[in-house]
Structure formats: C-alpha cells, structure tokens
Amino acid sequence: MKTPKELRYAKTDEWIKVEGDEGTIGISDYAQDQLSDVVYVELMVEEDDEVSIGDILATVESVKAAADVNFPVSGTIIAINEDLADAPEVLNSDPYEAGWMVKIKLDDPSELDDLMDADGYEAYNQERE
C-alpha cells in the first residue's frame, strides 16, 4: 500500500497535496483497495463552489459499494478532474496522480494541522485492520 510522504491524510481516507495556498484532493490507496474496482465517480461540486470541511466532494461507486468522499479542508474549487467520468478505473490504478479529483484554494491553511502525515495515516490504517 502506497502512502506518499508529501501528502496529508484525513480519517475519512482523502489525501491532500498542498502547494502554496492551493490543494489537490483525492482518495488514498487504502481507500481504493477497500472499495475494489471503481466503476463510476460522480463529482458533486463545480468550479467556483465554496465548500467547508465535511461537505461531499464526490460519490464513488465500486462493484460492491458506494461511498462518499468528503472535503478535508474548506475553500473554493478552482479545478475538477473531468477525465474521471470516462476513466473511473484510474482511482484504482493511480490514486495519487491521475486519480486526483479537485483542486481547491484553501481558506485557512491551519486546517491542515488537523490532518495526519503519512506515518500517522499508516499507523491509523494498521489499527483498523
């Protein structure tokens, strides 16, 4: 299971990659593995939407489950990954690169302090096994 060091993680299995005051959000390798084969991704937000922590970002359907993806931070949507609609399987094959979901302008970078680093997230996952 991959857990890139440069990302931060939420207990609800989203990752965020921060560059300046912008963040890119997706779901973790652990999450895609739990879901199994993803067949459909519906992004629930559009560009310029303002969102808060916990708002629904997307619904992901796999062959055995449907799950919500939530925002780990607050902010304004600056881009969405339109390719996911036609290629949902990249969530399984490449969750940290091609599988990104949205880019967001952060309202408050201090919200990142409440998220886990890679070590913390790995430990959290082991606890759940």
Partner: protein
C-alpha cells in the same frame, strides 16, 4: 397446513435460544391479546365455500356484462388468450425480479425483452425493469430529477392535465424530501391547458416539468416548444404517456423528453379493480446512474455465450443505502411479462391497428355525441386520441345511473377531481366497443336529456 419445521427442529431451536417453548417468545404480549378468540363462522366444505364465493361474486358487474366508456387511466382492451397461457407457466410465475438473479436466466431474458420493447415503443434510450404502476413511475421521475440536481433545484412542476392520482402520488413521495414544492396544477382555466401556464413558472430553481401525452383529458399536444424552452433553463422534462397511443402518435423520445413514464395496463393487463398494473420507466442514457429500480443487461458468460445479469446495481439501495435515488429494488415482473407477450403477439402492425381502431371509434363517438342537443365537446379545437371530454346537460353521476339501466358504464365524472369541471364527462373508447354499441350509448344519452 404448511409447517416448515419438524417438532424436533423446533425443540432444538428453542433450546439454543434458551426458552422452553415457542409460546414463551410471546410472553411480552399481554395475555388477553396473546391467543385471541376469533369470531369466525363454522367451517364449511369446499363445495359449500365455492358456492358461497360464487354468490358473492355475482353481485359484481364487470366489463363482461357492461359496455364500458370508462377510462381515466385504466383501459378495457382485448387480451389475447396467449398472454394468460404463457404468463401462468410455472417457470415465469413470479411477481418479482429474482433474488438470485443469475440462476434465473429465463426471467432475466423476459425482463430484458420487456426493456427492449419499451425503448422501441417510447423512442427513449433506456428502460428499467418496471415499477408498480404509472403513478409510482411518475413519482420516481420526480425523484430522479430531484436527485439529478442533488437537491439544489426544489420545484417540481406538474401540469393540471396529468392524472390526479399520479399528482397525489408524486406529492406523497416528495413529502419525505421536505423542501420540495410540487406546483403547476393550481385550479384555474389557464392551468388546464398545458404549455403557457407551466412555461411561465419555469425558472432555474425548477428540477422537472411533467406533462401527460395524451393528457388526462385525452388531448394531444405537441410538446416541442415546451421542452426546448425548459431545456434552455436546464430543466428536465418528463412525459407521462399512454402506451396504446404510441402506436399512432410521435413517441416521447422524438420530443427530446428526458424521462418518459406510463402505465402499462393497456398492454395485456386486465382492469382487475385497479391493479396490479405496470409502471413503465424510460430515460435518456445520461440519467442511467440515477435510474431507480432494477435493470437487466446482456453480457457473455465465461464460455462466450449470451447471458443476462442485473446491471448497474450500485445505484440501488442495497448497496448505496440512503444515497440511492430511490428505495425501489424490485419490479412488477409478472405484469411486465404480460406486456411483453401482448406486444409480441400483436406485433408492430397489430399494435398499430389497435391504436388506430381506438382513435377512429373515439372520433366517431365524439362526433355523434357532440351533435346531440345539450352535449358539446369541452375542448373542440384540440386533437385527441381515444378519450375526450363532453360537457353534459345534467350532472354526470345522474347520467351514469341512467346508463347503468341500459348496461352501459358511462364516462368518468371529472367533477370528482376538478371542481371547475362540473357536468363534464371523460369518455374513453377502445377497440372493444362496436359501432352499434356507440350508437346505443348515444341514443341513451339523447333520451336522458329529454326525460
């Protein structure tokens, strides 16, 4: 009596759960209610009960005894004998989508054929495996539109010319969503004609516009303009259709409707005092992830042979839980099969012929009745299919009582649902009624006015 468990098995089970007997499981129920004495008559023999039931049923009057001009959502059509014969085969005799679907290939294939026929009939892309009836299918259309906009658009506009029972069912379904307003069917002269009134209410908070085709009064409208203008505001449009009419008039898919729903009862299903009927639900492909109910798909098995599966099930409640569009995870299996057999037996030409007969006979009847003194067409300028509204010289229920003396079931009394339509009778004419029977109906209507 059917006893699924032997006494030994029962003994084992009560032992495992730690009670002495099955009766102990009911101790929470107050003693006086536990085994109530039922005040039932003496038991009868099979012969006696058959005779009693026959006597009770003879108090009913059916369309076998009466000439029927009643429609208003349920129609008296001829049902070929083959429909019942095939329907009652043990292999098919189930009301539901199978719970272990893949081992029931025959049932899945029948549903797949049904879906294919429905898309062909409506000109839409996708049909689900069916709903309970036209009313619940209409309510699911509202549901789909609401979820398509993720609850952000909160107005559902429904024409006053949509079947009143459907509108009531839509409101029942929508009440759980709390913040949804079902509008557009307010009392008034303008709301009875479809286009302009609804169009004036369309805004960017509107999720869906629903119209009926032919509408509840039998009228046929061209919805091209309505749909174009609704789409311009991003609003979805649902058309409630009568399947028999589609043998003759342009299908909803050609209007670019997003959703087309209807009651499949006219397709080989008896009137049966109101049910079971059949909800037809069809959509454009882009809404398939929001589609309620079961969907059968065709695929190939491990050996490359054709096989059928339940598909896109992640839409459904057993996987998606509270996030699903609808809580419906079943279909009206037996009735869908009846419609499938009916359409297959009639074929394209036979079906068109039924449709045409209804149209021609209804127009003959309308012409004859509106020529009578005191009777006139309520909407003389609007084309209609096999149902039309007549303004009557006396209250409809009075006329209907007279007609019953002549073994005729008169039309539907519209004042029940439309206070503004006192003395208005909705008359349906299907292929079951002969010219002579229409003439008889006309002559009784004429007599009644001169009484």
């Amino acid at each position: 009596m059917f006893t699924p468990h032997t006494p030994q098995e029962i003994e084992e089970m009560v032992k495992v759960i730690g009670v002495d007997s099955i009766e102990d499981l009911f101790l929470k129920v107050p003693k006086e209610f536990r085994f109530p004495r039922l005040d039932l008559p003496e038991a009868m023999t099979e012969m006696e009960i058959a005779s009693e039931l026959k006597e009770i049923s003879s108090a009913n009057a059916s369309t076998d005894d009466f000439i029927s001009f009643l429609g208003a959502g349920a129609y008296h059509h001829y049902i070929p004998a083959a429909v019942d014969m095939i329907l009652r085969r043990g292999e098919f005799y189930t009301a539901y989508t199978p719970y272990q679907p893949e081992i029931s290939q025959g049932t899945l294939q029948a549903i797949f054929e049904f879906q294919s026929l429905m898309t062909e009939l409506t000109g839409m892309d996708v049909s689900n495996a069916s709903h309970y009836d036209g009313a619940t299918a209409a309510a699911e259309a509202a549901n789909l539109a609401y979820h398509f906009f993720r609850g952000k658009r909160r107005k559902i506009l429904v024409s006053r010319a949509v079947n009143p029972q459907y509108r009531e069912t839509i409101r029942t379904y929508m009440q759980g969503l709390g913040d949804v307003d079902v509008l557009g069917d307010e009392v008034g002269d303008e709301s009875l004609s479809n286009d302009e009134y609804l169009l004036n209410m369309v805004d960017n908070d509107t999720a869906l516009v629903m119209v009926q085709y032919p509408d509840f009064f039998g009228r046929i409208y061209d919805y091209t303009k309505l749909i174009d203008l609704a789409h311009a505001q991003g609003v979805l449009v649902a058309i409630v259709f009568n399947p028999t009419a589609l043998g003759l008039i342009k299908p909803p898919g050609d209007f670019d409707a997003d959703i087309a729903v209807g009651d499949g009862q006219p397709l080989g299903i008896p009137l049966s005092y109101g049910g079971p009927y059949l909800g037809i639900f069809t959509i454009k492909e882009k809404f398939v992830r929001k589609l309620a109910g079961r969907l059968v798909g065709e695929t190939v098995d491990i050996d490359g042979q054709r096989a059928y599966v339940l598909t896109l099930t992640a839409r459904e409640q057993h996987i998606r839980r509270e996030k699903s569009t609808s809580n419906i995870c079943t279909n009206q299996g037996l009735m869908a099969l009846a419609a499938t057999i009916y359409l297959s037996v009639l074929g394209k030409n036979g079906f068109k012929q039924v449709s045409n007969l209804c149209f021609q006979k209804a127009h003959y009847a309308a012409e004859q009745i509106s020529a009578l003194e005191g009777y006139e067409l309520a909407f003389p300028d609007q084309p209609f299919f096999h149902e039309f509204v007549i303004k009557t010289p006396r209250p409809v229920n009075e006329l209907n009582l007279h007609l019953q003396d002549h073994w005729i079931l008169g039309g539907y009394d519209l004042s029940q649902d439309y206070p503004e339509l006192e003395n208005h009778m909705l008359i349906a004419v299907t292929e079951m009624i002969s010219k002579e029977e229409i003439d008889e109906f006309v002559s009784v209507l004429s007599e009644v006015n001169h009484d």
